[in-house]
Amino acid sequence: MDSLYLLIPIALLFCAIAVKLLLWAINSGQYDDLDKEAWRILADDEPAQPAPPETGRSPQQEGKEP
């Protein structure tokens, strides 16, 4: 159980790092817009390009090819 004397300070250190990171994120404005970020994760990063109907291959076909 003596390991507690080492492990607890390490846990506190990690906690301090987490707080530091979180404060950095808040200060750099990453939490300024909570409404959008909640939604953004669901949106596609790259919008689907309209594939040319004759020559284009559909994304599914591309996926199956080796």
Binding site: C15, V19, L22, N27, D33, D44, P47
Partner: protein
């Protein structure tokens, strides 16, 4: 669940795919998006939707959760006006320059209706050459864009945003805005620190509690207590600081606030625990301290976030005026920013443009649509010497006018001022939580003191923790959350149904409404003229009359012309010209035709009889020597109006009609809809007096109106609705804005408000009931502080969960 809702798919056949408004009969503007033909209501929507789809961003329509706003018709002048922002001096007010030469501009965008809009704007802006980064802040409707001015002029960015159907203008940072953003971050920092700290202290607390039960070596107990002290102290001094400062600030002026028992509980518990840790005896309550702090901060943070959102969508009439104006400078016409205009300068107001300042006409004659001020849809004819007002729309022909003064001196500014004034006159219904707060706090302090005194006589060593338990368990946390949680939840539910909630407290007033007042024009009616009656006077049939009328009106931008928009006109008309204030004249096969006022047509056909009656707006049509017809125009009643009024009456609301129109149409319309109380021909002042009179009699008044001309009376009403065609959001000042113009939303909102009131009642009952049951138990020493803290948190969570039921 996917983020898309059914809303965009509903009634696809008749609603515009882009803005959700009804497609007028006869309009065929469908466009292919995602492999299907989508109906469009106007060329504006079609242009925007076409651009979105052709840039491969058609996915937007699946992702969005609300319809877009209907874009304004664009012409070269709207795009030209943005050229002024290429002037570095003007741009400097909202642009900063990096060390590597890139510019950062902030634009405020009107028309963002849901999160998908931000995606659309970001995606399409970041594809422009020269744009390095584009970020949209949804909460503030702000676009931050980083671009290379050498490759992309600023005006091009404005134009691109406008093309997507949003209306950009420079984002002016004010001190208040900066301060609010900083406060928001500070609160978030406090909350984050408290949350992470709570996890740590909670972990040690579990070990300590287990130790109490199983037995623990004094050395380990000491260690756990010391690290808990370290973390908890940080939280108390950093995160919980606002409680102490608020309590102290109010105590100095002699008022009791909710923060006082909070600060006492946190402070006492922390002091006692620190003493126990240092002396190695007694109990520690660090877990209770941090849990308590975290939950209080969380509740407060959520409440502030909602409040902040409303301050940012602040009504601003000035923002609806054009940013750039054309003015005469040494016999040359130049474009300058509107704010630089001086009294005495001559401005050019093109046809279709919004008048930028109050001005006196020096050349030209035209008609101006003044619905901003009087709600009328028919324009007023103006000529040299007449005054035109900022915010009105020049309908017919270009005008040159002498500027009378700055925006501050304008009639529009006076109207805005009267709106603000009316708001302060509104009877304030004190919030329940505020009303009971000081009594509640005094009660808590009394009970706590009594407990402390009694227990220090009975068992001095128990007195401290029992007192702490009472303080913690009586914490008004759930009580403080009861109202804001329910209001926020109801507001977001309404938003999903096309009602934007501007003033949440109005939900409370609305739920108690006794009177429901309707404005006529634009509210119960569509707000645009339609053909109601055709009385042929010669041998020409109705069909032909309408076809001739449509052919003539095709050349006019007068509101009457819209009534003929869906009719195919007769071909062959030449030399169509418009006589301001009179009507239209055209030639076909050598014959002259005229359409317009009786006087204007009698010059051509002297035996034209007088108009049939006064109930409709009559337009005459004649051929040289022979009158052809009287065409009666009317403002269509909204289809759902009758339904809505009936269900309001069934729900026990007194329905009244307040109309500014003095004609007989008001009472007639009221009778057909089943409204018995009608007040027509009222000036805005009389409307306000009527509402105030009802309010002094004890009525709670909900009022439904449209647009800016109703704004003063709307802001006086206890709860107000504005029905808007979605283009004029910035001009609408009401607690609830119904986007898309379906009156059913009035009743839906009322029901939601009633439900919200019930939920708030339940929340209060629970929070108070819990306190009343738990305080005696705590005072008798049955509840240890850690259980008190858990009970307090569970009670708050229950309140939040109950409020979330409104979201469905």
């Amino acid at each position: 669940m996917s983020p898309s809702t059914e809303a965009p798919e509903k009634n696809e056949a008749e609603l515009c795919y882009h803005c959700g408004e009804q497609v007028p009969a006869g309009v065929k503007l469908a466009i292919d998006i995602g492999g299907e033909a989508r109906p469009m209501c106007c060329p504006g929507c079609r242009a925007v939707a076409g651009l979105i789809s052709s840039s491969g961003l058609g996915n937007f329509y699946q992702q969005r959760t609300a319809f877009n706003e209907r874009p304004q018709q664009q012409d070269s002048t709207t795009l030209e006006q943005y050229l002024i922002y290429n002037d570095p001096e003007l741009a400097a007010s909202f642009t900063t320059i990096d060390e590597d030469g890139l510019h950062n501009a902030s634009l405020l965008l009107a028309g963002i209706t849901c999160a998908a809009c931000t995606w659309l704007i970001e995606q399409s802006m970041s594809r422009l050459p020269g744009v390095e980064r584009a970020l949209v802040n949804l909460q503030q409707s702000r676009l931050d864009i980083r671009f290379d001015p050498a490759r992309l002029p600023l005006s091009e960015i404005f134009v691109r945003v406008e093309n997507l159907g949003y209306r950009p203008r420079p984002f002016q940072t004010s001190t208040a805005r900066l301060q609010m953003a900083e406060e928001y971050r500070t609160e978030l920092r406090r909350l984050a620190v408290a949350g992470l700290g709570m996890m740590q202290v909670g972990m040690f607390a579990i070990a300590l509690h287990a130790g109490d039960i199983q037995g623990i070596e004094a050395g380990y107990q000491g260690l756990l207590r010391w690290v808990s002290l370290l973390v908890a102290s940080f939280i108390v001094f950093y995160s919980a600081r606002p409680f102490f400062s608020t309590a102290w600030r109010h105590l100095k002026v002699g008022t009791l606030v909710m923060d006082l028992p909070v600060a006492l509980a946190i402070g006492l518990a922390w002091l006692a625990s620190t003493w126990a840790t240092v002396s190695g005896s007694g109990q520690v309550y660090f877990d209770s301290v941090v849990m308590f702090t975290f939950f209080l901060l969380l509740g407060r943070f959520l409440e502030h976030r909602v409040r902040q959102r409303h301050t940012l969508t602040w009504f601003d009439a000035e923002s609806t005026l054009p940013g750039a104006v054309t003015t005469k400078c040494d016999a040359l016409w130049v474009t300058v920013p509107r704010i630089q205009l001086q009294g005495g300068e001559t401005v050019l107001v093109k046809a279709g443009a919004t008048v930028p300042v109050d001005a006196q006409i020096v050349a030209g004659s035209s008609a101006v649509k003044e619905d901003t001020f009087n709600g009328e849809h028919l324009p007023r004819a103006v000529t040299t010497g007449d005054t035109i007002y900022a915010g009105t729309v020049n309908v017919e022909a270009a005008l040159q006018a002498k500027v009378l003064g700055s925006y501050r001196e304008s009639r529009l500014a006076a109207l805005q001022h009267s709106v603000e004034l009316a708001q302060t006159k509104k009877p304030q219904l004190a919030k329940l939580a505020d009303r009971i707060a000081s009594w509640f706090v005094a009660g808590i302090l009394l009970v706590t003191t009594l407990t402390a005194v009694v227990w220090s006589q009975l068992a001095p060593e128990q007195a401290l923790w029992i007192t702490l338990s009472v303080l913690v368990i009586s914490c008004p946390c759930a009580l403080a959350l009861a109202t804001p949680a329910a209001l926020t939840s109801a507001a977001s539910a309404l938003r999903a149904h096309g009602v934007i909630v501007r003033g949440e407290n109005a939900l409370d007033s609305l739920s108690r409404a006794t009177h429901l007042l309707f404005d006529k024009t634009g509210t119960l009616t569509e707000g645009s003229l339609a053909i109601a009656d055709v009385r042929p006077l010669g041998d020409v049939g109705t069909q032909d009359i309408l076809a001739i009328g449509a052919a003539l009106q095709h050349y006019s931008s007068h509101p009457i012309a819209r009534a003929f928009a869906g009719i195919t006109g007769t071909t062959g008309f030449k030399d169509v010209n418009y006589r301001v204030g009179a009507g239209l004249e055209a030639h076909q096969n050598g014959g002259t035709y005229r359409m317009g006022s009786a006087q204007f047509c009698r010059q051509l056909a002297p035996d034209l009889p007088t108009a049939p009656d006064k109930l409709l707006y009559w337009v005459a049509l004649c051929r040289e020597g022979s009158p052809l017809a009287w065409i009666g125009l009317n403002d269509h009643t909204r289809g759902e109006a009758g339904d809505v009024i009936t269900s309001a009456q069934q729900a026990g609301l007194q329905v009244e009609l307040l109309s500014g129109d003095s004609s007989a149409q008001g009472p007639l319309l009221a009778r057909s809809l089943g409204i018995s109380t009608v007040n027509h021909g009222l000036t805005p002042q009389q409307k306000m007096a009527h509402v105030q009179q009802l309010q002094t009699k004890g009525a709670v008044v909900a009022m439904v109106g449209d647009g800016l001309n109703d704004a003063p009376v709307l802001s006086l009403a206890d709860a107000s609705f504005a029905v808007t065609g979605a283009t004029d959001l910035a001009r609408t000042q009401a607690d609830f804005v119904i986007v898309g113009g379906d009156l059913h939303a009035v009743i839906d909102t009322w029901r939601k408000a009633r439900q919200c009131r019930r939920i708030i009642g339940q929340n209060f009952t629970w929070a108070l009931g819990y306190n009343i049951c738990a305080i005696p138990l705590a005072a008798m020493g049955f509840i240890p502080p850690w259980a008190a803290a858990i009970g307090m948190s569970l009670s708050s969570l229950l309140v939040v969960a109950n409020s979330l039921r409104l979201n469905r």
